[in-house]
Symmetry: C2
Subunit: 216 residues, 2 copies
């Protein structure tokens, strides 16, 4: 299972390196690569796509990022640092487990439909199926999905310890449910759902919270 802690490599632009300086912004290139993988998937993104979008030649890309799978991994790390962990923080920092899950779902609704990047989530809807040659990449994203679920489970356990959730609750089932909600929201976003649509879905998902008093 992947760690939720990711160390992001920040370009030390002040520290001068030895040889010829790089002619492009590495972090900016990484973000462009992320958006490509995000929109087209790992297998749907070719090196021609990457080099033409980043505006560099193949040798420069390989010198900076090693290989296509390595570039993908680093792109996903950037995604986690920029977007995903912000949502995870909403979960962890909330006063109760319920507020935490609600905040996370609402955060995801906004995030999955934000106009400055492709729709959905590259983890929740990433490399779900792939060729055997790319199995390691598929496992990477699956690990990140399992990690999300583990974070939810940990917050639910915390809720039980804090006394805001009954101890006899099936929190594994609940974590699986809300992880599935996130994944469903991502697919809906890819299929064109709006922020409001996803917020309604988050609302309905919170209606399933155990012991929830409902108005008809």
């Amino acid at each position: 299972m992947a760690s939720s802690i990711n160390f992001v490599v920040i370009d030390m632009e002040n520290k001068k390196s030895r040889g010829r300086p790089r002619a492009f912004d590495r972090t900016q290139a990484l973000e462009l690569a992320l958006h490509l993988f995000w929109a087209k998937g790992y297998e749907g993104t070719s090196l021609n796509d990457l080099t033409s979008t980043l505006g560099i030649n193949a040798p420069s890309l390989y010198a900076a990022f090693e290989s296509k799978p390595a570039l993908y991994r680093e792109s996903i790390d950037l995604y986690l640092a920029q977007q995903y962990e912000r949502i995870g923080a909403l979960l962890a920092q909330a006063a109760t487990a319920r507020i935490g899950l609600d905040s996370m779902l609402r955060g995801a609704a906004e995030q999955f439909t934000a106009p400055d990047h492709p729709p959905g989530c590259p983890i929740a809807s990433g490399v779900l199926r792939c060729a055997e040659a790319n199995a390691a990449i598929g496992e990477l994203t699956a690990d990140h999905r399992r990690n999300t679920r583990a974070m939810m489970l940990a917050r639910l356990q915390q809720g039980q310890q804090d006394g805001d959730l009954p101890v006899d609750l099936d929190i594994h089932a609940l974590a699986g449910f809300y992880a599935g909600i996130i994944q469903g929201m991502s697919v809906q976003a890819i299929d064109g759902a709006s922020t409001a649509d996803l917020l309604k879905m988050a609302d309905l998902a919170m209606q399933a919270w155990p012991g929830n008093p409902q108005a008809s």
Copy 2:
């Protein structure tokens, strides 16, 4: 939006055709192709995968199925006829909208984890992202997802007409929610969830049903 009615081509084995007879069972080959696309995705399945698994050479495959995208389309049609429409029937034939959705979700839980085929659903988790060259294939599966949602919406409308759902209910939001549940269940199945896991998810999703009286 794709029609939910699909005409499946049944091999007329009694009707003798003119030239040299085909040396393999076309429907059986189609099912093998479906399972390949199901497990590896459209872009992750190569023609080498197909010909070696079906046990035929490329010219035979092309004579029988025209092209890779045409084979994919026909495989999906077979999936719809064999699996998907059975679940859709549970939705349509139920006495109330609530029972219909509940049956559909439970049917999906069983179906997505059945041991005789790859996990998940090739529509709910199919070609979510792809290269621009395969955009038509992506649109095909997206159309089928939208169709599923439209079927849910139609059943909810029916429920309003039948009086088992309040007329002021936001049934569009509800249809989106349950469509998202199906898609989330498919991802969970791909990530290794059991039938029991998915049934718990279906149960929780039904807890969100409007006006649902809950026990803690």
